[in-house]
Structure formats: C-alpha cells, structure tokens
C-alpha cells in the first residue's frame, strides 16, 4: 500500500487512527499499541504476505537477543547477532551481486536463482542492529516486546524511513498518559502530510518523465548530448529529492496524527555550500546511523588524519552499498567519500589562510554551485543501471557527445538559430520535451534554493525531533530574509494552503507512481 494511494488515504489511515484511539479509550495504551502493531503488520503484508514472516522472525530474534545482551554484556553474542542480521541482508540483497562478480572473476557459472528482496529489509535490519549494539553497551532500557515490535514495524516509517532510533521512539511508546486524539497533532500532522503528498505526487512524479527516458537511453548504450544529459541528470536530482523528502514528510505527518514525533530526515540539502553540510541535511537518519555505528566503530577521527580519512571513505562506500547491490552504488559511495576527504583537506587549508573572498557572497555562491554539481554527478551513478549508462550521461554533460537543440526551437530563433548551427550545435527532435524538461528543472531549482522546508515551518511546534530552524550555516539561501520567521500557524491561510496541497496530491492518485526509496 502506497501513502499516495486511495486505499491508504481514504481507508487504511482513517481506520487505523480510529482503531488506535478507540482501543486506547476503551482498553488502555497497551491494547492500542497492539492494535497499531497489527495495523503496521497488515500494511507491510499488503505487498506480499510472505514478507511478514521475515519481519516477525527478525523482530522476535533481535528482541530476545537484545534482552540477553542487556543482561549479560556478552560480546560474542553481540557479534553473533550483528552477523546474523548482516547475513540475512547479504543473502537477500547482495547474494546475486556477489555471485555475479565471482562468476565474472572466476569464469564460473553459478546460479542461485531469483531471490526476492523483502521490502524495507535495509531499514528494519539497521534499526535493530543499532538496538543490539546499544543493548550491549547498556544504553537501552528494558522494553516490552509490544513496544519493541512497534519500534521496528511502525508503519509510517517502516518502508522507507526515517530510520528511527530506539532511544527516540521507545520512550514515546511507553508514555503513561492515555493516548487520545489531539487536535493540535491533527492540525500539524494533516498539514505536513499534505505538503509531503504534494512534493511526492505533483513535483517528483511530475518531473520523473523527463529523467527516466534519458537514463534509459544512456543505459541502452546511446550517446546523450549536452542538454539532454544535463536535463536528465538535473531532473533526476529533483525527482529523488522531492520523492524521498516528500515521503519523509508524509511519514512525519502520519506519525504525528498518532501523537508520535519522528526524527528529521531532510533539511534542504540542495542549499548546502559544502559536501559535509550536504550529508548533515540529506537522509539525516541514515547519516547518523553510519556515523554512530560504522564511522565511530571503525575508530572515527581518534587515530590520526590518515585513519580518519580512511574511515570516512569506508563508511561512505558502505553507505553506497546500503542503497543497493551494484557497482554504481559503490562508486557513488566512493565518490562521496572522496568528496568528503577533499572537503576536509580544503577546510584545513582554508583555516590556515586568510582571504577576504571566502567571506563574500560570491564565494558562497560558487561553493554552492560546486557542491550542487558534485552531487548531481554522484546521482548519475546512483540512477544509472549500468556503468556504461553513467559514463554516457557524464560524457554528455561534459559536452563530448555534441550539443543539440530541437529543430522546432532553432527554426523559431531565426538568425540566432543559424548562428548556433554554424557553431556546431545540431538540430534534433523533441522540442516539447526539451522545453518541458528545462521549465521543470528551473522551477524546481528555484524551489529548492529559495523556499523554507517543513522543519523551518514547524520547528516551533516540534514538527520533528530536530532543533534546526532557518539554519544559515553553510547555506546558500538567497531569499532567506524574505522568509525568515515564517512559521506555520493555526490560521485559515495555512488551512487553505495545505487543503489545496492535499487536493492536488489526491488528483494524482489515478496516475502511476512508485516511491524510489522503496527499492533500498
């Protein structure tokens, strides 16, 4: 069941809310939480009921192990638990990739058949690994199974995050105050949900038709010209952001209807003026997980500069691999690891020199532009199915495949059109697609660098567990002064605006859509 489906919005969500609050009223919090676990399992099983077995076994195993670790502090047990979790994820997610590479390297022809990847396995496995590690460290308290099951399976965040941490979620489930429908939570939840739905269905799905065909062409081995390559890469850059951040907003909004506050997952990442800042703002909950359970576990920055860079690089490669079994994801991770290393070096160098230019708006703009371009290059690897496809797009972006402008446009440009052709620009087909691609890209570029985000608007109402609000650190935000201080208020204007977002989102329900992050 998708968040942007009629059955979810008009049936599942209202019935779940009704069940949860009526159970809480009549039978108390624990029964209400049990009802919510039931709803979450139904939500998960909707795609494929057989997935449920894996999820339930995983929850039972990790809960039992977590309890034992809390009591015994046994490192071998922890190693066993983490290994088994990783084994399951390796089997389901990476076995095919591993066998393929072994076959390529050795010339063997091993076949392990088709393994269907259980939905959201990366999300719920990592949440539970964190739980095991913290149980071992004695950081977690002892929780009952019902609360634990809800922490793992809570449907708003189960499929595509935010990746929640037990210390953030379990105290909220253990509240002794009777759950009851809270008007304020409903106002905030409905508004955030509507904005998220709009971002996903109107913006992400709206620009998707201008990204997918370009990558499909490149993956099929076709040469992609300059404008098509940039148009497609930019379109995917925006599609991914609005898709994933829209989903996260919807998750935050839905959870809020139940009175649960989720962590922030996106904070205007495309406003970042350096790559470290980008990772502080993009898929924040994954970045935190990688920092706390991979980077720090590897030694973090405690063992010198070289080791620090090394740890950073390994963490990012693993982060790439988390997204999928493929060399393109590994390259994407390695690329970001390299970006981060270069940025750290630059920061250290910059610290030692004083140049007035660094404090100017021009520098800030150039830093943003460079960061944005590097992120786009990364997304080319992330989106392409084949390595050849990625290089086809990148060579197009570098202008190596020539520059084409639609004939319909060149013909209308008159003498300028002739001049452009004499400069080597060649006429092509598809004028309408060309214009729509760039109209969408320019519009969404303006959106991402000028508008405030959900966190800015709802920070004063604790929209998420984060404290960010109109942050100016390492930010390129040319219109900041225009919006600074704009927050959501309980007024007619906001009600109309968010109602409109919901209506526009609902109007896309008959169109085909899929969340990109479901595949991870």
């Amino acid at each position: 069941m998708l968040f942007n489906s009629a059955e979810f919005i008009f049936l599942f969500l209202p019935l779940s809310l009704l069940l949860f609050f009526s159970l809480a009223k009549r039978h108390g919090n624990e029964i209400a939480l049990a009802g919510l676990v039931g709803c979450s399992l139904l939500f998960y099983g909707w795609w494929n009921p057989s997935y449920l077995v894996i999820l339930i076994i995983s929850m039972l195993f990790n809960y039992g192990l977590g309890r034992s670790l809390g009591k015994s502090n046994n490192k071998k047990l922890l190693t066993l638990g983490v290994s088994l979790n990783l084994t399951s994820i390796v089997y389901y997610k990476y076995a095919g990739f591993l066998v393929l590479n072994i076959n390529t390297a050795t010339g063997n022809n091993w076949d392990i058949g088709t393994i269907i990847l259980p939905l959201a396995i990366s999300f719920f496995t990592f949440q539970q690994i964190a739980y095991l590690v913290d149980s071992y460290k004695g950081i977690t308290k002892e929780y009952n199974f019902l609360h634990y099951a809800l922490f793992v399976s809570f449907f708003p965040q189960l499929i595509a995050g935010p990746i929640v941490h037990h210390k953030d979620m379990l105290p909220q489930f253990s509240s002794t105050r009777r759950y009851q429908a809270n008007l304020n939570n409903f106002k905030i939840g409905l508004t955030i949900f509507a904005i998220g739905l709009f971002k996903k269905t109107v913006l992400a799905d709206g620009i998707a038709p201008y990204a997918n065909p370009v990558f499909n062409l490149a993956d099929a081995g076709n040469e992609i010209d300059f404008f098509m390559a940039w148009g497609g890469a930019l379109a995917y850059t925006f599609q991914l952001y609005f898709d994933f951040s829209g989903y996260s907003d919807m998750a935050i909004g839905i959870a809020r209807l139940f009175g649960i506050i989720l962590p922030l997952n996106f904070y205007s990442p495309y406003k970042s003026t350096n790559i470290s800042e980008f990772w502080r703002r993009w898929h924040i909950t994954l970045s935190h997980f990688l920092r706390d359970y991979v980077y720090i576990a590897l030694g973090g920055n405690r063992k010198g500069k070289f080791k620090r860079y090394n740890n950073l690089f390994i963490t990012m490669v693993l982060g790439g691999l988390w997204h999928g079994a493929g060399w393109n994801f590994i390259i994407w991770g390695a690329l970001h690891g390299s970006y981060l290393m270069i940025h750290l070096t630059w920061q250290a160098t910059k610290h030692n020199i004083t140049v007035v230019f660094f404090n100017t708006k021009y520098y800030q703009f150039l830093a943003w532009l460079l960061t944005f371009i590097l992120v786009i290059i990364g997304w080319v690897f992330f989106r392409s199915v084949t390595l050849e496809g990625a290089f086809n797009i990148l060579s197009g972006m570098a202008g190596l495949n020539g520059i084409e402008i639609p004939n319909a446009l060149l013909a209308r440009l008159g003498s300028l059109g002739h001049s452009l052709q004499s400069l080597g620009i060649t006429p092509s087909n598809g004028g309408k697609v060309f214009i729509m691609t760039w109209l969408w890209n320019i519009t969404l570029l303006v959106f991402v660098v000028t508008l405030p985000n959900i966190q800015d608007l709802f920070a004063h109402k604790q929209g998420t567990l984060s404290k960010y609000s109109y942050s100016e650190t390492n930010t390129f935000w040319p219109t900041l002064r225009l919006y600074n201080g704009l927050t959501w208020t309980d007024c007619r204007r906001w009600a109309f605006f968010s109602g409109a977002c919901l209506a526009l989102g609902i109007l896309t329900l008959s169109q085909v859509s899929e969340f990109l992050y479901f595949q991870f």
Binding site: L183, F186, K187, L190, T191, A194, T201, V202, N407, A408, A411, R412, P427, N429, D490, C491, R492, W494, A495, F496, F497, S498, G499, A500, L502, A503, L504, I506, L507, T508, S510, Q511
Partner: protein
C-alpha cells in the same frame, strides 16, 4: 477544529472546482460538454487519450458506419465527408494501436451498438509484421498480453474481470479528477488559436500540428524523421508468416474474427490497404520487406476470396471487398518540393500519413455502389487481378527508383541503406 474544517473545505472546494473545470473544458473529448469556440472547441490534448475515449465514444455516437484502423485512418478519413450521405459515421482509428486492439475495439463497438450497417477497416502491412520470437509464440499468448491492458474497458470482453465496471468508472473519473486532466485543460484553453491537432466528436483527427511544423520547420524534418522512424522499425528481421501456422499470417486470424462478427449482424465490411507515399514503399524495399509486402497482399486476397466463397456469404450476399490504395500512381508519387519547404503537399502530410483530400478519393471509390466500371483511385484486389496488380507494383517501384534516390539524397538520409 476550525482549522481542520477549513482544511477539508479547501480540499473539497479545490477538488470540486478542478473537476468542474475539467468537465467543462473536456480536454480529452470524453464528455463532450458544451463546445465554445476559442475556449474548448479545439481539443489538442484529445490525441493523448484516444485509446480510452474511443472505447466509450463510439457507443455514445451509435454510428451507422464505423471506421477502423490506426493513425492513418484517423487523420485521413473524415466522418463528416458528404460522401457518407448524412449517415452517422465514427472514426475509431487509434494512433499506434496494435491490430489486435483495433479489431477488439471494433468488435466491441459492433456488439454494443445496434445501428452499425457498415464497417471500413484500414489495414497496414507493418501491423502484420512480427519478430522472430513472436513468430514462434502461439497467437493466444501474444494476444493475451496486449489484451490485458484494455479488456476491462470493452464491455463485451470483460467477462474475466469482475472489477471491470469499477475500473471503467475509475478511468472515466480520472479524465476529470486528475492533475493530468487539469494540465490538459489549461493547455486546451491556451492552444485554441494554435495550429494543433484535435480530435472531434466523431473521432477524426484534424492533424493541424503538421501545418504548424510546416510553418516553422518546413517539410524536410517531417520526411526525414518519418522515414528514419520507419527504417528504425524495420532494421531488425521481421516476418509476416506465423511459423506455427504456415501460410496464414497470425494477424489474419484476428481479422477473421471481426468479419465473422459482422456477418452475424449483416454488416457490410470493406477492407482497404492504406495508401503510402512512394518514399515509404522504397524504405520497405531497402529493408528487404518488399517481397513480404507482396506476399501479404496475395495472402489478403486469397483470405478475402476464401471468406467470400463460404456458403454463408454466398447465401446472404454480403460480399467482403478488399481495396488496395497502396500502389504507385500520380497521387502516391506526389513530389516532395524541398525547394518550397513551407508549402504543404496536396495528398500527404508525410510519407506515412495521407491527407483528407486523398481520404475522400478513397471514400469515393469505396462508397460507390457501382464498382463494375471503377476508374478512380485504388483497385479491388481479386484472385483474377492480383498477379497483374503485383506486376504493376513492381513496375512502379522500378520507375520511381530515381525519384527516390534523388529525394533520399536531398533529405540527406545517410543512415538509410
């Protein structure tokens, strides 16, 4: 509570306003709400949903004559032509639709519309081509995949789908309650005075976009793009004979089902092979499809003859006619005047699509009751004249070769062999 009330009021109002607006503009030509000139009379977006609207609209129009085929038919044969003598005609031609789909839609319309007296079926050689893999597949398997996408839409085909009625309702609602429809409505409003193709109530495509392209880009890109597209389509080996059923093209079996359905209802059927510009036929020849083309015509002729020879046909006197407009003649050999690139051709838009003027010539021939002394455009293919017709086609191909080479050179079609 006031906030939530306002939230849902805003939600409902916007939904209602957009749906009403979409219903009024009716960008896809589904509801045919009142037409106002310069507001919603021209429907440039209708072409994007013909596979949906034409499934339902044919029943609403309840025509006396049904025209079946692909985009050539949709743009070439006008239901409003006076040659139809005030009969109600619906053009169910659908761009890019598979032959199986064209026929299933026609059968559905015949089954659900009582008035139909005559069916004109435009058939195209390329619709009968199949790949090597397809040639080895049983026809039922091939067709099942195609039919799955639209069976729910056709009342007489929806037996296996218990949700068909709901799906039809959902589909119709989506043409009003959707952001796509809103976007199409806005485009419709802004393109009323533009040279955009629109579909009218009777299913005819005005093809005015060609005029717009001619005006800005000229005729050259129209020819180069279309000929290149045909070449791309033909570059992989294609066959017309089903390996499972030697001597019968798999697609002919499907055509037969339409003819059987019309026989049951005493509906007159005319099959016709669409005209092609000579350049189109030369691309077929250059991609080794000329012999297949000839074989296909022979197959069709014997297929029609066989159907006409059945007891049933002889008894009820309903003779099936096969017209061939695809040969070489003054119209299909029309010169492409690249020196005056913004001047439209008289008979063709581009190599694959003929204009209404040529469509009217075809109608003159097909609708004329007295076929014994036919001297006009096209010819009726019969076993007794098929060999002669093939000789003429071969001769036409030879004679027009120089013109083709000249045209090819001027169009700089280097990628076509």
């Amino acid at each position: 509570m006031k906030y939530i009330l306002n939230y849902f009021i805003s939600f409902a109002c916007i939904l209602g306003v957009i749906a009403t607006f979409n219903w009024f503009v009716d960008p896809f030509g589904m509801h045919w709400s009142p037409k106002l000139s310069n507001i919603n009379a021209l429907k440039p977006e209708a072409g994007t949903r013909t596979r949906i609207t034409k499934a339902y609209q044919a029943n609403i129009i309840a025509p006396d004559v049904l025209i079946v085929g692909n985009s050539r038919v949709e743009m070439g044969l006008s239901p409003s032509s006076p040659l139809f003598n005030n009969k109600t005609v619906y053009n169910q031609g659908m761009p890019g639709a598979h032959l199986v789909m064209q026929i299933d839609y026609a059968i559905n319309t015949i089954k659900t519309t009582p008035n139909i007296k005559e069916v004109l079926v435009g058939i195209d050689f390329v619709d009968f081509l199949i790949t090597h893999n397809q040639a080895n597949e049983p026809i039922e398997i091939l067709d099942r995949a195609i039919k799955k996408s639209y069976n729910f839409r056709l009342e007489s085909y929806d037996n296996d789908n218990k949700y068909a009625a709901a799906l039809r309702l959902k589909e119709k609602m989506a043409l009003v309650f959707s952001l796509d429809a809103l976007s199409a409505s806005l485009k419709t409003l802004t393109q009323q005075k533009s040279l955009s193709s629109g579909i009218d109530e009777l299913g005819f495509n005005s093809a005015l976009s060609y005029l717009s392209i001619m005006k800005t880009e000229g005729i050259k890109p129209l020819f180069t793009q279309k000929l290149q597209a045909i070449a791309d389509r033909l570059k992989n080996p294609l066959y017309i004979i089903s390996l499972n059923k030697p001597s019968i093209s798999a697609r002919l079996i499907h055509l037969k089902s339409l003819i059987e359905e019309t026989k049951k209802r005493n509906i007159k059927v005319t099959l016709f092979i669409n005209p092609y510009h000579f350049s189109y036929l030369h691309v077929l020849a250059e991609y080794n499809q000329w012999q297949n083309f000839i074989t296909w015509k022979k197959d069709l002729t014997s297929f029609v003859n066989k159907l006409n020879s059945t007891e049933d046909s002889l008894e009820n006197g309903l003779e099936l006619t096969l017209w061939d407009f695809s040969g070489f003649n003054t119209m299909t050999n029309e010169a492409v005047l690249l020196e005056t690139p913004k001047k439209t051709m008289h008979w063709f838009w581009e190599p694959a699509h003929y204009r209404k003027a040529l469509g009217n010539k075809m109608l003159e021939s097909m609708l004329n009751e007295d076929k014994s002394n036919h001297r006009g455009f096209g010819k009726i293919l019969l076993p007794k004249n098929i060999q002669l017709s093939i000789l003429e086609d071969n001769e036409g191909l030879k004679k027009s070769k120089d013109n083709w080479l000249n045209l090819k050179e001027r169009l700089a079609l280097s990628t076509i062999d």
